[in-house]
């Protein structure tokens, strides 16, 4: 740059720019800058912003606070783990699956409200819930909205809804084979049973079916008692069991009452003489029972953590790597894992998330190699085939499997011995009603 000296004429610039030329140069410079930035500013508006993947929402209906929280939380975690694995391997039908998991606070009346909120938010499927009361509370909502619920919990049967896929064991897959075994020589030839349960629909219905079966087999019912869910003092009933001469106990008590029941039982009766067979407790729930008091009693389940198979080991390892090395597994977790995989298979077969298309895919025969063994969905009843397994509780609260069915048992939500004339086949007309059945209580 030439700086003019005072008193001297300004030297002529060698490149004197005219106004017109300068305007042209400025315009050219602006256009050049625009062209440089254009690919990121305007063309396709890329700006380095990653494109959004297609997403689909599933709803997890679980109680994360209140008395049902601990068991439900483990089920929520395993479902979350499954979804994360789906997403890591490309999602479902190319969609990333997002989870919505409101808290139902262990209150049955909140389940329908939360289900409605999830469906309003666009959930294509609902997973979860715990008690039969909560399942029944949700049924009107999912039927009115034509939605599908995947229910992983062992339950009493006597229900088939076109809008529910049932993953848990039914009495014919759990209790009835256990009765047969306990009445056999290998099972101790036990002929007198005391029925203990919670005063809820699932316990009463289960025992209704059980009593029919016991009568058929010539086994005596020494007593039958029901207690509120928050009942703690089982010492009097344990005394009555001892007096009744029962040689085994069938326990359908739900929830934390089991902690007190095991304690009261250990104080009075020997597990080797009068074993208790529980239907609604898993290795996960047994953590709450004081060490040693449950030893020698039995648990009925489709799945035990002690199943020695590569699929089970890989499943447990995968979950523990993500959620913690000390995590314990239970039957409902296994069932929930299998159900969510069956949902994925159905959606992929249907090529759609639409409920009707997914339901149509059920008829094609869905199966999944679960940690507890192969699971097949029966399109006729929308229940799953499950193994019968009887586990003997160890001191460390894990269970040794003492009896297992050779293969998964087909589901029968209406055992004819208890519900004569009742049948369900959704592939051929649906529910066929028999005579009205009244369940005691």
């Amino acid at each position: 740059m030439i700086i003019p000296s005072p008193g001297l004429p300004t030297p002529p610039s060698r490149h004197r720019t005219s106004r017109r030329a300068a305007l042209g140069e400025g315009l050219a410079a602006t256009l050049a800058a625009s062209r440089l930035l254009a690919p990121s500013l305007f063309v396709g508006c890329s700006l380095g912003i990653p494109p959004r993947a297609a997403t689909v929402t599933v709803g997890l209906l679980h109680s994360q606070t209140g008395p049902l929280a601990i068991g439900s939380t483990s089920v929520r975690d395993i479902e979350t783990h499954a979804v994360e694995r789906f997403n890591a391997s490309g999602g479902v039908l190319g969609h990333q699956v997002t989870i919505r998991g409101p808290d139902t606070r262990s209150r049955s009346e909140l389940f329908p409200r939360r289900a409605t909120e999830l469906l309003d938010a666009g959930a294509v499927a609902l997973f979860g819930r715990w008690s039969s009361a909560s399942r029944k509370a949700v049924l009107p909502v999912i039927e009115a909205r034509d939605a599908l619920l995947y229910y992983p919990v062992q339950y009493e049967g006597n229900e088939t809804s076109r809008h529910v896929v049932y993953g848990g064991q039914l009495p014919n897959q759990q209790i009835l084979p256990a009765i047969d075994w306990l009445a056999s020589d290998a099972g101790g030839n036990r002929r007198k049973v005391f029925l203990l349960g919670s005063d809820i629909v699932s316990s009463r219905t289960t025992n209704f079916v059980t009593k029919k079966w016991l009568a058929e087999k010539g086994i005596t019912v020494a007593g039958e008692e029901y207690f509120p869910l928050d009942h703690e003092d089982f010492a009097p009933v344990v005394g009555r069991i001892a007096d009744s001469g029962a040689d085994w106990i069938l326990n359908t008590v739900n929830g934390e009452g089991n902690i007190h029941l095991f304690g009261n039982l250990a104080a009075k009766l020997d597990a080797a003489t009068v074993p208790m067979v529980s239907t609604s407790i898993s290795e996960d729930d047994l953590r709450s029972v004081p060490r040693g008091v449950a030893e020698g009693h039995f648990v009925l389940s489709n799945y035990f953590q002690t199943i020695d198979s590569p699929v089970n080991r890989e499943w447990m390892e995968g979950f523990r790597a993500e959620f913690g090395r000390d995590r314990v597994f239970g039957d409902t977790m296994e069932s929930a894992w299998s159900l969510i995989h069956l949902w994925k298979t159905a959606v992929e077969k249907a090529g759609s998330f639409e409920v009707d298309a997914v339901r149509s895919a059920f008829a094609s025969g869905l199966s999944f190699a679960g940690p507890g063994g192969p699971v097949a969905l029966d399109a006729a009843t929308q229940h799953c085939s499950r193994y019968f397994r009887l586990g003997k509780i160890r001191r460390d609260h894990l269970c040794d499997i003492v009896r297992s069915s050779e293969e998964p048992i087909a589901p029968d939500p209406y055992p004819q011995i208890a519900f004569p004339g009742w049948k369900c086949d959704w592939t051929r007309g649906g529910l066929e009603r028999g005579p009205e059945v009244t369940i005691d209580g």
């Binding site: 106004r19 602006t30 800058a33 700006l47 998991g101």
Partner: protein, 264 residues
């Protein structure tokens, strides 16, 4: 109706910086070509004009510079405070985890699971939502579950009472820090400040257009000033929301804690 500018936080920082500089320089140059001739008609050429504009500009720049500087410092302070708060939350969680690890079973195990679950949720689900400027909701459910389970525990010995009191104190501290983190997700400069900043930048540029200089000098010097204004805007935008954009607070402290939780 307000326009959603959240897309700026999805851009890589260098692109955002380039965009801001490009916008300001482009605006300056386009104005220099098309608007400046009209300004020069309005403000007629006179011998002392450049000096006058220079005085006005320098006076204006003092106020505007102060405003920009203070806003940049405030944005950085917000960022630093949010960062410290995240560290405090993780520290409180860590202390709580240590406390509950000494609880009798199954409480200890249940509480450890719930704490791990909360930490995992923060890393895997809450943080991506915060990055989009969304306040995560389901962490509240997990915090409530933790609170509920902790209150279920009834201490039986004096040492358990002391331990429980300390755990509850840590829980309250953790909940307080958590609330602060959630508040800072949507915390940012108010819209009025953004208007003042952009209008101030426009005045700066208009004053520069009024200078009576050679055209190329105008483009080069004005372009440098505009580029610097763009850089300042980029800095403030990037710091404004501490959890958004690539240059933002990361969940690293929670990740470290989560790895350690599995070892305890």
């Amino acid at each position: 109706m307000s326009y959603d500018f959240s897309w700026v936080y999805q851009m890589p920082p260098w692109r955002l910086a380039l965009l801001m500089v490009g916008l300001f320089v482009g605006f300056y140059w386009v104005g220099a070509i098309f608007i400046r001739p009209f300004l020069r008609v309005l403000v007629r050429r006179s011998p002392g004009l450049n000096d006058l504009i220079g005085y006005v500009l320098s006076c204006f720049c003092v106020f505007y510079g102060l405003l920009l500087g203070l806003i940049a410092v405030t944005a950085y302070q917000n960022y630093a405070e949010a960062d410290q708060n995240v560290t405090r939350e993780a520290t409180a969680l860590s202390a709580l985890y240590e406390d509950v690890s000494r609880y009798p079973e199954p409480f200890g195990q249940d509480l450890r699971w719930l704490l791990r679950d909360y930490t995992r949720y923060v890393i895997r689900y809450a943080w991506p939502l915060q990055r989009q400027g969304i306040v995560p909701q389901e962490g509240t459910i997990r915090a409530e579950a933790l609170f509920d389970r902790l209150l279920d525990f009834q201490p039986k010995t004096p040492s358990e009472q002391i331990l429980h009191a300390e755990a509850l104190r840590q829980l309250n501290h953790f909940l307080e820090c958590r609330r602060m983190r959630l508040f800072s997700v949507t915390n940012g400069l108010p819209a009025s400040m953004w208007y003042v900043m952009f209008v101030g930048a426009a005045f700066n540029i208009i004053l520069c257009w009024m200078f009576d200089t050679k055209f190329m000098t105008q483009l080069v010097l004005g372009g440098i000033l505009a580029a610097y204004l763009g850089m300042m805007m980029y800095l403030i935008i990037d710091m404004n929301q501490p959890f958004r954009g690539e240059v933002s607070i990361t969940p690293e402290v929670f990740e470290v804690l989560y790895r350690r939780m599995d070892d305890v």
